[in-house]
């Protein structure tokens, strides 16, 4: 067909009708509405609180808290510290659970996910069973199961389960020896750091060599040797400058050693086992998404099972696994606020619980708490996005 080209000429630009202009206007209007509503809500809340004789503002953060917190793995908090300090303690405890939980859930999830595809009937069945059971029971119920059913059958402190007078397990937690550095420990530390640097160099050297000559170097065993042998020698020369402090029962509780409280253990068990069941499914679907030809090709070249998994399957599957993995990490972090259901002093428990109640400043405290969870979630997303783009297939 013949087309008259002069008709198709773009019409005269009318900026008011251009899509771009309209979109900007709409965005500005929405922005103004959102900011305006927030402003109105804040103002209204402040007026209402004032009218009802409720204090408001953020000055309370610097007031004395007057309450103690039971679990302080990082920083000090006593009744004479401020509410802000209590906030930091709660935040650190939340981050602790989230980080440990993500670590454990990832390991368990990958093992179960890979296990589910195993040729071994028993392993595959067990992993399938694990996923179906844990995924389908509400998390809170699992938390109660670990805390109120499992950890509560432990003996009282006096009748602790005792392993070699060093490890004790009772209702108040798990107590393990604490390594205490003595004079000369710095040399050991120094040699350890030196070994690690050497291992990194070895790694790059071996990689380069393999690229050039095709020869493999037993990096793993060599690294192990480089790490352990110098440390052993230096320790020996310095009369083992480290001593293990055993926990001992003094009065009501064990003193000394490292203590793992049952609240943390229950929370970690519940969060990581539950989340692992979802991660396992992500891993499985990631692996199944890989073209069968890849594995057949690897088999044809004569690669063993483990290298196939490590070098061919997992790296490619990661691209499919990472996005849903990110949302599992986010879920785990948010679910960690179930800590309030047992006595683990996380952010929600300490700050949006005790502090909120003692100050009565619900609006401010909930706003801060929500911003914290938002920030944690965004941080995890950003890290995972960065990792995702690092793992992407690169054209080379």
């Amino acid at each position: 067909m013949n087309v008259r080209t002069d008709i198709i000429k773009p019409p005269k630009q009318d900026i008011f009708k251009s899509g771009k202009f309209r979109s900007i206007v709409v965005q500005i209007i929405v922005m103004v509405l959102v900011v305006g509503s927030i402003g109105w809500i804040v103002n209204n809340a402040a007026t209402n609180m004032k009218a009802n004789g409720i204090s408001h503002g953020f000055a309370f953060l610097w007031e004395t808290s007057f309450f103690d917190i039971g679990y302080l793995p990082f920083i000090e908090h006593t009744a004479s510290h401020t509410y802000f300090n209590a906030f930091v303690v709660g935040l650190l405890n939340t981050v602790l659970v989230a980080v440990l939980g993500i670590f454990l859930a990832t390991i368990i999830g990958f093992l179960i996910g890979i296990g589910r595809l195993s040729d071994n009937w028993l392993v595959a069945r067990f992993c399938g069973f694990y996923v179906e059971v844990l995924r389908n029971i509400p998390l809170l119920l699992q938390l109660f199961f670990w805390y109120h059913a499992v950890l509560r059958i432990l003996p009282r402190a006096k009748n602790s389960l005792n392993i070699g007078d060093s490890f004790y397990l009772n209702l108040k937690g798990l107590f393990i020896p604490k390594p205490i550095p003595e004079v000369g420990f710095n040399y050991v530390l120094l040699i350890g750091i030196f070994s690690i640097i050497s291992i990194i160099f070895l790694f790059f050297w071996a990689k380069k060599r393999q690229a050039l000559t095709g020869q493999q170097f037993p990096v793993f065993y060599a690294s192990l040797a480089i790490f352990i042998i110098p440390i052993l020698i230096v320790s020996f020369l310095n009369n083992t400058p480290m001593y293990l402090e055993d926990p001992v029962l003094k009065g009501f509780n064990f003193k000394g050693g490292i203590r793992l409280i049952p609240e943390l253990v229950a929370l970690l068990l519940a969060l990581s086992l539950y989340t692992a069941s979802f991660i396992a499914e992500n891993v499985r679907s990631g692996i199944l998404a890989i073209n069968k030809g890849q594995i057949e090709a690897a088999n044809a070249v004569g690669l063993q099972r483990v290298p196939i998994l490590r070098l061919i399957i997992i790296p490619q599957a990661m691209r499919v696994i990472i996005p849903p993995l990110t949302s599992q990490y986010l879920n785990l972090t948010k679910n960690s606020s179930l800590a309030v259901a047992i006595a683990y002093p996380d952010l929600v428990h300490v700050f949006a619980g005790t502090a909120l109640m003692q100050t009565g400043q619900a609006v401010e405290i909930l706003a801060i708490t929500m911003s914290v969870y938002l920030t944690l979630s965004i941080t995890i997303s950003l890290l995972m996005n960065w990792y995702n783009s690092a793992m992407k297939l690169k054209d080379s």
Partner: protein, 346 residues
């Protein structure tokens, strides 16, 4: 469960943020609604606890019933809607207007009064914080508790007194903090904590719920003052007045040594009674009118609920499972050396 509590709290905050703060008139709202809304505990025997038929009973519940009877007259004590709340959420929900009286073993303190927007309306039970331990522990004084794990309710004065007490005595402890009283008790009973601490009346009540109550004892020390009483929102004086004076009418009748309940039918017609009695019952004068209520407000409160002594003996007294003898305690009337005292109704 717990998460939904956080959500509910959040909803209360939203109400605070969106609602307009018109001049509050809780009394006429209550009359329009036809019942009083009352915040109670989630189950503390003697104070506020559902009985076997699911009806709320207790000395705190009776305060709400008396207010309802004072407002609605005959049979008014049933016109109450109860809202069981945890220690943590009780004030937020009151200030957000979910209920209008909080009668839930709540201690009167300066910061609650002045900072959180609450009004305290007298005291219906004078309490103090104590410690409960298993007898097997061999502890006889609170000063032997250095290093103990202590189970406690979150959002209470208990949590703060505990910190004060151990700090003042240079002792250390591990607080194990739960949101619900039942969880505190279960943790203590299992042995997760060595010590259970709360108001002594609460200890007496909680002890009855333990697997083996006889194997536990309450230590002698009382480490704080816990005057418990009904709470209302700041900013509605007339409503707070009703709550305050209703409670005090019950106390006054106890002071007068007169019988309440059915006996009132004869007392009200007895012209030989004192002017004070006639004034309280609304036979002479109109004290109720000053409160925005009917003349016979106190008559119905006393008729339906009984006086303070009745209320005490029925729920927490020597013949109840709590077995807290009134004589010799701060909850005796002032004429008997106690602290229970009502300003004059005139």
């Amino acid at each position: 469960m717990k998460i939904s509590n956080v959500l509910k709290l959040f909803a209360s905050v939203l109400m605070l943020s969106f609602g307009t703060s018109a001049i509050a008139d809780t009394l006429s709202d209550t009359k329009d609604r036809g019942h009083v809304r009352c915040g109670v505990s989630q189950g503390l025997p003697g104070f506020s606890n559902p009985d076997e038929n699911g009806n709320w009973v207790g000395i705190d519940v009776d305060v709400c019933r008396a207010v309802a009877a004072a407002i609605f007259g005959k049979g008014g004590d049933d016109k109450v809607e109860y809202f069981p709340v945890s220690a943590k959420e009780r004030f937020t929900k009151l200030t957000a207007g979910e209920y209008d009286i909080l009668s839930r073993n709540t201690t009167w303190t300066l910061s609650r009064d002045a900072k959180i927007g609450l009004t305290f309306n007298g005291v219906n039970f004078y309490d103090g914080q104590g410690f409960m331990v298993p007898k097997a522990l061999g502890v006889t004084s609170a000063l032997e508790l250095d290093g103990a794990s202590v189970c406690v309710n979150t959002g209470t004065t208990t949590e703060l007194n505990l910190a004060d007490f151990f700090r003042a005595n240079g002792m250390s402890y591990e607080p194990v903090v739960f949101e619900k009283a039942d969880e505190v008790l279960a943790a203590y009973d299992s042995g997760r904590c060595d010590v259970h601490t709360t108001d002594k009346s609460g200890l007496a009540a909680q002890r009855t719920k333990l697997a083996q109550p006889d194997e536990h004892m309450v230590l002698g020390e009382t480490i704080s003052k816990e005057p418990l009483g009904p709470v209302t929102r700041e900013g509605d004086e007339p409503w707070s007045d009703i709550v305050f004076w209703t409670l005090n009418a019950l106390i006054t009748w106890d002071e007068l040594g007169l019988e309440a309940g059915d006996a009132l039918k004869t007392i009200v017609g007895d012209t030989s009674q004192t002017p004070e009695v006639k004034r309280i019952l609304g036979v002479e004068g109109d004290q109720g009118g000053h409160l925005g209520l009917d003349k016979d407000w106190a008559y119905w409160a006393l008729f339906e609920v009984g006086h303070y002594g009745d209320m005490y003996e029925r729920h927490v007294g020597a013949n109840t499972p709590l077995a807290l003898a009134r004589a010799g305690s701060p909850n005796a009337g002032w004429k008997n050396g106690g602290l229970i005292y009502a300003p004059p109704i005139r």
